[in-house]
Amino acid sequence: MSAISELSTIHRAKAKTPEEKRLLAKEAGRDNKAGYLFLLPWLIGLVLIIGGPMIASLYLSFTNYSLIQAPEWVGLANYARMFDDPRLHKSLAVTFTYVLVGVPLQLIAALAIAILLNEGMRGLPFYRSVFYLPSMLGSSVAIAVLWRQMFEVDGLVNQILRKFGIPATTSWIGDPQYALWTIILLHVWTFGSPMVIFLAGLRQIPGMYYEAASVDGASRWAQFRKITLPLLSPIIFFNLVLQIINAFQAFTQAFVVSNGTGGPADSTLFFTLYLYQRGFVQFQMGYAAAMAWLLVVIIAAFTAINFYFSKRWVFYGD
């Protein structure tokens, strides 16, 4: 149900006589029309740019489609094949690790820095920009290339470790045990955009709550737990939902760091990277489309679970 029709329902409920109801309904209808008119540009975009391709993609997921020849209907065969595709299972494991570890770490980092910046230090705009910078660079090809060089056997990271007397000879990106973690680290480093949102949220919390709490002798930790966290919970929820959706679709970093292979030994084979390989390297666009739909279902499920549990911890204050 859209927000607009929800509003008109409320109006209708307040109307008493049939005459009033009729008038209000007419008014609501007019309101709705205006509302939809304002939405029109977005709706056209949704239908043409997203809706059309989505329907086409759903159709293609039931076909054998090589991109070059016309699609050929195969029913559920693509979906059935997923059950015994070990690389698909591997790519799911990699992606889930990335999301379940990377997103919480990134949000914790974002919140911690936002709280620090909110202390009202001098030169805040400067620090805010500096911390935001990685977010803008993080998904770029240049940073991924740099990342690859930093974590090589003779890369910057090992050179620094050696300066401290640690005989570091591990190739962080060459060893299947560690490669994924360097990409998770890259993800955590791009905490800027949730940080800015947290910062805006922190600014909304009235200072008097903290004043009252300190008068009552509450510690900083107690203030954080009893005031900051509950009042910030809608923002945390917002960031959590969006970052999970984003992280499931991560592609660039893995593509560049492994040169599109998902290596070493498939340790950075993200779901989207495998989807790309199937579609564009192996010319199996039907299977790739089916994989895209599996990802939609996974993301939708995660979002639904998030909303379900949000009732227990998100506090809207109204």
Partner: protein
């Protein structure tokens, strides 16, 4: 459950974000009017689109060739579509799906069958290849039909760094008699004496050297019926690489896996981390420029210790194909014919795309080649008696062999799986990839 407005907005924006993923795989073929991009006849001129991947030199050469051709043929208008290797294939697949493939397509051996067997390429039987060196035409044939004209000869080999061998105080090996085992011995010795990580780098990346290894065992990479080798050959190769790793000739598994995604200018032999490295002959000039010294070109080893029995072949470094949907097929064929058979084109491109397969053209441009290109031309000529039959192009799905051999190989090198199991997984996956 009634959502409040905030929840609704979060959900809606999330769904919109998720939906962008699905834009993939959503383009029906031939839906958009058909015809080639830039095709048709504009203002009485025949227009052609020409796509290639490359490097700055090749971009400059190709544009110069286009300009020269248009000057000689004022009724033809050609638009160039340069690109880089990786994105080139994504774009070509998408364009082909939309019925908008360029008229003239620079093609690679890895992909020619994907397009050729699916009817996307024009029959180039009318292009004159009568002056081509024997064995250089066949690689462009799919099911007996010529769909790609060899644009330059290439051969897989090993580059050796004179500097590193000098540092180790060792002589260059005799590449006419060396065996696979000697490659390990020499690699291990030079690596330890010169103190470099790799005696030989990038062997696991080379489906071409694996190809000669398989052929020396009497098999082929691919046959008309599918995969031409089986688990024993694959296992022998993994056993061999593991042996070289244990002898400290081929680098550690971490180094091997790190080396794989590196571009040419950061590769082991260029930065001085390897005594020898797998390369293709046409890359000599680029490697020399990046490394500051000209590597020596060494033939790949053989089982028998005889270069004449190593069963190498003339590889097409790239080919020219034309789209079967082209509106001006004759004009596209005319351009390919011009490239293959006139000195006008060769005088501009020289050996940038590999040594010209047309012997008359090669004789014509030879004096103008750079010193590195002359070395390559001589090498290609020298190995003529050693060249075996040209293998067939990898069938659809076969282009994945490079990544599949590497992926299972790296598991073997890391000790995660045995050579026998790794070989079985490699062969199984290739067989299933060929079943498209």
């Amino acid at each position: 459950m009634a959502l409040n407005r905030r929840q609704f907005l979060i959900g809606a924006s999330g769904l919109a974000a998720a939906a962008t993923t699905m834009g993939l795989g959503a383009c029906a073929p031939g839906s958009s009017g058909g015809g080639s991009q830039g095709g048709g006849n504009q203002g009485g001129k025949t227009s052609l689109a020409l796509a290639w991947w490359g490097n700055p030199t090749r971009n400059k050469n190709t544009q110069a060739m286009i300009d020269a051709y248009m000057k000689a043929n004022p009724n033809v208008a050609i638009t160039g579509q340069p690109g880089d290797f990786t994105s080139y294939w994504d774009k070509l697949a998408t364009q082909t799906a939309g019925g908008q493939a360029p008229d003239i397509i620079q093609m690679d051996m890895l992909y020619i069958a994907e397009y050729g067997t699916r009817g996307a390429l024009l029959d180039l039987g009318s292009v004159d290849t009568s002056k081509f060196v024997e064995g250089t035409v066949d690689s462009g044939k799919i099911n007996g039909k010529l769909v790609g004209v060899n644009a330059g000869i290439n051969s897989a080999l090993i580059f050796a760094s004179p500097k590193v061998f000098e540092k180790a105080k060792m002589n260059m090996p005799d590449d006419k008699t060396w065996t696979w085992d000697q490659l390990i011995e020499i690699g291990a010795e030079v690596a330890s004496k010169a103190g470099v990580p790799f005696g030989v780098a990038s062997l696991l990346q080379s489906d071409a050297l694996f190809g000669t290894f398989v052929r020396q065992h009497g098999k082929e990479l691919f046959t008309e019926n599918g995969l031409g080798f089986d688990v024993p050959e694959a296992q022998a190769w993994y056993d061999y690489l593991l042996k070289g790793q244990k002898a400290k000739a081929f680098g550690t598994p971490e180094q091997v896996s790190e080396e794989q995604p590196k571009p040419l200018d950061q590769s082991a032999i260029v930065v001085g981390n390897a005594a020898m490295q797998y390369y293709n002959s046409n890359q000599l000039e680029a490697v020399s420029a990046a490394a500051g010294e000209q590597p020596k070109m060494l033939r790949g080893p053989s089982l028998a210790g005889k270069a004449t029995e190593r069963k190498t072949w003339y590889k097409a470094s790239m080919l020219w194909s034309a789209s079967s949907k082209s509106k001006n097929p004759d004009a596209a064929i005319a351009w390919i014919n011009w490239f293959a058979n006139t000195p006008d084109a060769a005088n501009i491109d020289l050996a940038e795309r590999g040594i010209p397969p047309n012997t008359e053209i090669l004789a014509e441009v030879k004096p103008k080649l750079s010193s590195a290109q002359k070395v390559v031309a001589k090498y290609i000529e020298d190995i003529k008696p050693e060249v075996g039959e040209t293998p067939i192009a990898p069938p659809p799905g076969g282009g994945t062999i490079q990544t599949v051999i590497f992926r299972h190989g790296i598991d073997v090198l890391f000790g995660k799986t045995s050579p026998a199991d790794g070989a079985k997984q490699f062969v199984d996956e290739m067989k299933s990839n060929l079943k498209v």
